[in-house]
């Protein structure tokens, strides 16, 4: 899983399978919106997530109610 800071509200990068966008989560903190997901290409502004960071993202995506 990778993440990048969105340049604007339309900045969705292509999904790893080339179909649609690969963003599965956006975290907004202040003015910064960081997108997380699985993407077709790894752009220069993308960073790879550690296992712990991926686990945190998955906790937000699939919380235990």
């Amino acid at each position: 899983m990778h993440s990048y800071i969105m340049n604007n509200e339309k900045d969705y990068r292509t999904a790893v399978n080339g179909q649609g966008h690969g963003v599965i989560l956006i975290k907004k903190v202040g003015e910064i919106e960081r997108a997380y997901g699985y993407f077709k290409s790894i752009d220069e502004d993308m960073i790879a997530l550690s296992e712990q960071e991926e686990a945190e993202v998955n906790t937000i995506l699939n919380p235990t109610f």
Binding site: H21, L25, I26, V29, I60, P63
Partner: protein, 199 residues
């Protein structure tokens, strides 16, 4: 009925005696027929009735005594400042505001969270500002909305519609989660209002 001290054709005034000050009044030696008469004291201005001749006792006609020390006196500027602070306390904003009511005996507060644009079929997560796990939070759905940049379309959040256009919301682990089922990025301004009571 004829007034005892007013002859026919005379003009009756409310007071029978007039003194320039309290000392002058107290120096006056009333007669028995002065009982119950009223005097005017010019400075400080006031009316008194002769309640008793022996001992001499004047009683103020008013039974209400007002002292400035009983009041807190504010200038017009101070009152305007206090009123503006009260208005600000109830103003829906990004800082904590008061809702003006209680829930289970606890005062209800609110905060408006700027959530930016709605996402494109992805979950958007926004941490609750100054989150406190001991507070009791809920979404103020009547004060939560999203609008397009041209402001032509405004929807409440949550938005209940056909599923592709549905926009869900919840609070999970100190985060607001906004959950659409299609591209809703045309809605660029989203304000979510939360309510909470404290410990």
């Amino acid at each position: 009925m004829q007034h005892r001290d007013v002859k026919e054709g005379d003009i009756h005034v409310i007071h029978d005696l007039k003194f320039m000050n309290i000392e002058e009044r107290d120096a006056y030696e009333p007669k028995a027929e002065d009982l119950d008469k009223i005097c005017l004291v010019v400075e400080p201005y006031g009316f008194f009735a002769l309640q008793s001749v022996e001992p001499k006792k004047w009683s103020a006609l008013s039974t209400v005594t007002v002292s400035l020390e009983d009041f807190e006196v504010y200038t017009k500027e101070q009152i305007n400042t206090l009123l503006s602070k009260k208005i600000e306390a109830y103003n829906i904003s990004s800082s904590e505001f008061k809702c003006g009511y209680t829930r289970n005996g606890k005062e209800v507060f609110g905060i408006e969270v700027d959530c930016g644009a709605l996402p494109n079929n992805a979950i958007k997560s926004i941490p609750i500002p100054s989150y406190n796990a001991n507070y009791n939070y809920w979404v103020d759905t009547t004060n939560s909305y999203s609008k397009t940049s041209n402001k032509n379309s405004i929807i409440p959040i949550p938005y209940v519609a056909n599923q592709p256009y549905h926009v869900g919301i919840d609070i999970t682990n100190g985060n607001i989660r906004i959950i659409p089922y299609s591209d809703r990025t045309v809605f660029t301004e989203t304000k979510i209002t939360l309510n909470y009571t404290k410990e």
